[in-house]
C-alpha cells in the first residue's frame, strides 16, 4: 500500500461521491486518473483490504430492528449451533468469544416477534436453551472510518 492507496481508502470510506463519475471525482481529489483509481480499487478488493463498496443503512429507520444474542453452547455442539444460526439471512455477525456465553451473534429482522420465533426455532433444533437477547436501545456510535496504520 502506498500513500495514494491510504488516502483513497480514507476518502472512499467516508466520502464516496454520489455523482455520475464517482471514480473520476475521486481521481480529481487525489490527482490521479479515473482509470488509475479504478485499478487501485480493484487491486485493494483483490488483496482483501476492501470488503465491499455500497450502502450502509440505518436498520431502524428503514423499518427493521436489530438485536445481539449470546448463547451458552457446549464445545461439542458449537459446529451444529453455528451452522443452524448462520443459515438465517438476518444473522449478520457471529463470533466465538472467551466467556461462558461463548457464541455471540446479531440479528436484523422486521420485528421482535420474528426474532423470538427464530430463537425458538434455534433452541428447538440445537437443544441449546441458554440464549440471551439484547435489543439495541440507543446507538452512541457506529464508526465510519478506520484510520489506517
Amino acid at each position: 500500500m502506498d500513500d495514494i492507496d491510504r488516502k483513497l481508502l480514507h476518502e472512499i470510506q467516508s466520502d464516496f461521491p454520489i455523482t455520475q463519475r464517482p471514480y473520476k471525482d475521486l481521481g480529481v481529489r487525489l490527482r490521479c486518473s479515473e482509470d488509475n483509481i479504478l485499478r487501485r480499487i480493484k487491486r485493494l478488493k483483490k488483496e482483501g483490504i476492501i470488503r465491499r463498496i455500497g450502502g450502509n443503512f440505518d436498520s431502524q429507520r428503514i423499518g427493521f430492528i436489530t438485536t445481539l444474542c449470546a448463547a451458552m453452547v457446549p464445545d461439542d455442539k458449537i459446529e451444529k449451533f453455528v451452522t443452524a444460526v448462520n443459515k438465517y439471512p438476518g444473522v449478520t455477525h457471529n463470533y466465538l468469544r472467551d466467556h461462558h456465553y461463548n457464541v455471540w451473534f446479531t440479528f436484523v429482522a422486521p420485528n421482535m416477534k420474528a426474532i423470538s420465533r427464530y430463537i425458538d426455532e434455534i433452541i428447538k433444533y440445537t437443544g441449546v436453551r441458554e440464549i440471551l437477547n439484547f435489543p439495541a436501545v440507543k446507538t452512541f456510535k457506529i464508526l465510519v472510518n478506520f484510520d489506517l496504520v
Binding site: F16, G54, N56, V108, F140, K141, L143, L148
Partner: protein, 154 residues
C-alpha cells in the same frame, strides 16, 4: 414506510457498487429509472438518515487491528447517556450501544474495541474505565469469526 422505488434502491445499494465508470447509471438501468433520478433519490435517503453512508467497508484485521473485543459495561441508569458518549469518543471504540438487559446479565452498554493485541485491548478497557468511572465490566475477546456480512433487507 418505504415506497417500492426506495426498496429497489436499497436492494441494489446493499450489495456491491459496480466498478465501472458510471456505476449509478448501471444500477439505474437495472432499477428502471434514469441516472439523475437515482442520484437524487440516493442523496435524499442520505439526508433523511436512512442511508447512513455510502462507501467502502474494510476488513479491519488487514489494516492493522489484529485483536478485537466486545466489552460489556454495567452502567447505572442515570449515567447511561454521559457514559455512552464518553466511550464513543475513544478512537479505539468502533461501536457503542445501550442494550436492553436480560435476566442473568447486568451489563447494559456494549462497545466493540480494536487493538493490535489482547494486551492492547485490556489497556484500552482500563483507560475507558478510568475515564468513565465504570469499573464493572466484562471483556469478551473475539476468538473466531463465524459470519460477517452486510444485511440484506429487500
Amino acid at each position: 414506510m418505504l415506497d417500492d422505488l426506495e426498496k429497489k434502491i436499497i436492494h441494489f445499494l446493499q450489495g456491491d457498487l459496480p466498478l465501472t465508470e458510471r456505476p449509478f447509471a448501471v444500477l439505474a438501468k437495472r432499477i428502471g429509472i434514469d441516472e439523475g433520478e437515482l442520484l437524487d433519490r440516493i442523496k435524499l435517503l442520505k439526508e433523511q438518515g436512512m442511508l447512513r453512508r455510502l462507501g467502502a467497508t474494510l476488513y479491519h484485521q488487514r489494516v492493522g487491528f489484529k485483536a478485537n473485543a466486545m466489552v460489556a459495561w454495567c452502567v447505572p441508569d442515570d449515567k447511561i447517556d454521559e457514559t455512552g458518549f464518553l466511550m464513543a469518543a475513544f478512537k479505539e471504540v468502533s461501536h457503542c450501544y445501550q442494550r436492553k438487559i436480560a435476566e442473568k446479565w447486568r451489563y447494559n452498554i456494549f462497545t466493540m474495541i480494536h487493538g493490535k493485541s489482547k494486551k492492547d485491548c485490556q489497556g484500552i478497557c482500563k483507560r475507558i474505565a478510568e475515564k468513565t468511572g465504570i469499573k464493572d465490566y466484562v471483556l469478551l475477546l473475539t476468538l473466531k469469526e463465524f459470519k460477517k456480512t452486510s444485511p440484506r433487507y429487500f
